[in-house]
């Protein structure tokens, strides 16, 4: 088990590996021959952030959300609608709107879910997820229904009045996403390896004992849920900025299962594993979905195989070699 005060920059080897990966990621758009690949890596980053947010819930708090993409979708719609109808050029405000909307929805929903217990929590995420999906799908006037939300403007990316570039440019939005994902990863790592994270893990290991030592289990579960939802909301804002479009299928049950698979593939309870899992998943999806129309069948099969044979994912494989 990793100790809770673990620092991200513990050993020199880790720092070097981290710097190499970051260097590669930052150079990638200038090296890749085709902008298609820049977009693909951008998508990996965004879904990586989403998978990481689900890992906070699944790997650290022991709670399962079947439809975590719902919160990515809700934030994407909120950000997109704000950009389209209210302020087409205020990037930060739009991201904030996405986060606030998700928080307003997620607090009461999380409160209800947490009080019903761990298993019912999981079942309810599915029910609420389908509710969001139905609303987005049927509320044609607001969301564009089946057609999706189209024509979202691309705001300029500014910091303190400095215009760094336009988010419509694939390279600019890629670099922007990369920076945001790195910040989110570092912040989440810090939170998870703080006493707060230790409490979440205590709840995961044994809820009853945690409550006996005086931990308010419901409150901490709700806080874990909120952290996961807000990270998903950040991913959602990045999603709409990069795509300029979102449709209801982004929020359907299959999309939810895909994120679950990313976490499983990478290894839950590691934070970095799901980022890797997302990259792998999107690469495989891009490859297989061109080969077969029965993509769903393969996802189901791979999920089952992962749970039975490789419950700790790729991260679990790497820890096998350590010993």
């Amino acid at each position: 088990m990793s100790s809770n005060s673990e620092s991200l920059l513990k050993s020199p080897i880790r720092i070097i590996i981290g710097l190499v990966i970051l260097g590669i990621l930052f150079c990638l758009p200038f090296v890749l021959p085709n902008q298609f690949y820049v977009r693909l890596v951008n998508e990996m980053l965004i879904y990586g952030l989403l998978a990481m947010s689900l890992d906070v819930l699944l790997g650290y708090t022991g709670l399962l959300s079947f439809m975590h993409t719902s919160y990515l979708g809700l934030a994407a719609y909120a950000t997109g609608l704000f950009l389209k109808h209210m302020a087409p050029n205020s990037l930060w405000l739009a991201i904030l709107v996405g986060i606030v909307v998700v928080a307003i929805i997620a607090i009461p929903v999380g409160w209800v879910q947490v009080r019903t217990g761990g298993l019912a929590f999981a079942l309810l995420t599915l029910a609420f997820g389908m509710m969001y999906f139905t609303v987005v799908w049927k509320w044609y006037d607001l969301t564009g229904g089946d057609d999706g939300l189209m024509g979202v403007p691309h705001p300029d990316i500014t910091i303190g009045g400095w215009i760094l570039g336009n988010s419509g440019n694939p390279i600019v939005i890629y670099l922007f996403s990369l920076v945001i994902v790195i910040i989110c990863f570092a912040v989440t790592w810090r939170i998870i390896h703080s006493p707060f994270g230790a409490v979440l893990q205590a709840i995961r290991e044994n809820e009853e004992r945690a409550s006996f030592v005086g931990i308010n289990v419901h409150r901490y579960k709700l806080l874990g849920w909120m952290l996961a939802c807000i990270l998903a909301a950040v991913a959602g804002s990045l999603f709409i900025l990069y795509r300029g479009y979102i449709g209801p299928t982004t929020m359907d049950a299959f999309a939810g299962a895909a994120v679950l698979m990313m976490v499983l593939l990478g290894g839950m309870g590691t934070l970095w594993g799901p980022l890797l899992g997302a990259a792998l998943f999107i690469y495989i999806q891009d490859y297989i979905s061109t080969l077969t129309e029965h993509w769903e069948l393969f996802v189901g099969l791979i999920v089952m195989l992962l749970v039975i044979f490789l419950p700790k994912g790729v991260a679990g494989v790497s820890s096998l070699f350590k010993k």
Partner: protein, 293 residues
């Protein structure tokens, strides 16, 4: 005036039929969960499998009533194989793993159903005499098949109640869902009880599928929709509580029927909202006897 009465009768009977289908699925899920602590996410797909088998059997000339027996048996056989190969190895692992595993199984089964039957909506052809309406009172007509479906649901419920309440095996099952260690200590093979419970759940899902096929048509996502509705039913009824599930099934069935009658598009939103409100005040279900796990 007649139309008002007629739609009133329609709503009441439709609610009963819908609630009945929910109940059969939800009880199957609750029995499986109670005995093996596995929440079977693939249960809806087994229900869809029942409906598709019903479609194939009826359209290859098998009598509808015979189909009502054959299709559930095939579903049960499929369930038995799945239980042995996929679910048994991970029994005893944390609940999160069984949930994810059976969720994967759900997509796998849905994929197979789409592969075998395609994605278009199918209609199960009813025998002539069932395919007519009956006059309940003057001016109030109702499709005969819906009444027949209600009859089947009631028969299944009575059969199940007798089985669980009166037979030795039913009593063993109830005991095993409360204190498995004790039942095991009495020399009863728990593994067999768990398998039997799973197969029973599959039979129920299969019957529900064949009954629901002609009512709601047969389409690929029917299993997923039913899965979510039955989750709403078992959580609102209280996890593991059969009585709670019965109350919740008819409550949700009625609300959904009413909502679909008055506001077609957002009907399900009303159902989920109701669920959220009930759970906000009664987190252990409407009878307060749900397990907290």
């Amino acid at each position: 005036m007649h139309t008002a009465i007629s739609s009133g009768v329609d709503i009441v009977l439709n609610s009963l039929v819908l609630g009945g289908v929910f109940l059969i699925i939800a009880i199957g899920l609750n029995i499986i969960y109670g005995l093996s602590r596995v929440m079977n996410m693939a249960h809806g797909s087994l229900y869809a499998l029942g409906a598709y088998l019903g479609y194939t059997l009826v359209h290859s000339g098998v009598n509808f009533f015979l189909t009502l027996f054959i299709a559930p048996i095939i579903v049960a056989a499929a369930g038995l194989i799945l239980e042995r190969i996929i679910i048994a190895p991970i029994r005893g692992r944390p609940i999160v793993y069984t949930l994810i595993l059976t969720y994967g199984l759900m997509f796998f089964l849905d994929g197979i159903i789409k592969y075998l039957w395609g994605t278009e909506t199918r209609f199960i052809k009813l025998p002539e005499f069932l395919n007519q309406t009956v006059t309940l009172t003057t001016g109030v007509n109702y499709p005969l098949f819906r009444l027949a479906a209600l009859l089947v649901i009631v028969a299944v419920m009575i059969g199940l109640m007798l089985f669980i309440g009166k037979t030795k095996f039913g009593i063993t099952m109830r005991a095993a869902s409360n204190i498995p260690e004790m039942v095991s200590a009495l020399g009863i093979n728990m593994k067999f009880v768990q398998i039997a419970a799973f197969v029973l759940g599959c039979i129920l899902a299969g019957i529900a599928g064949v009954v629901a096929g002609p009512l709601f048509t047969v389409y690929p996502v029917m299993g997923h929709e039913m899965l979510i509705s039955s989750f709403v039913v078992i959580v609102v009824g209280g996890l593991g509580s059969l009585r709670g599930a019965a109350v919740a099934a008819f409550l949700i069935g009625t609300v959904q029927t009413l909502a679909e009658f008055f506001i077609t598009d957002f009907a399900m939103v009303i159902v989920y909202m109701l669920m959220a409100v009930i759970l906000a005040f009664m987190p252990r279900g409407i009878l307060g006897e749900g397990k907290f796990e």
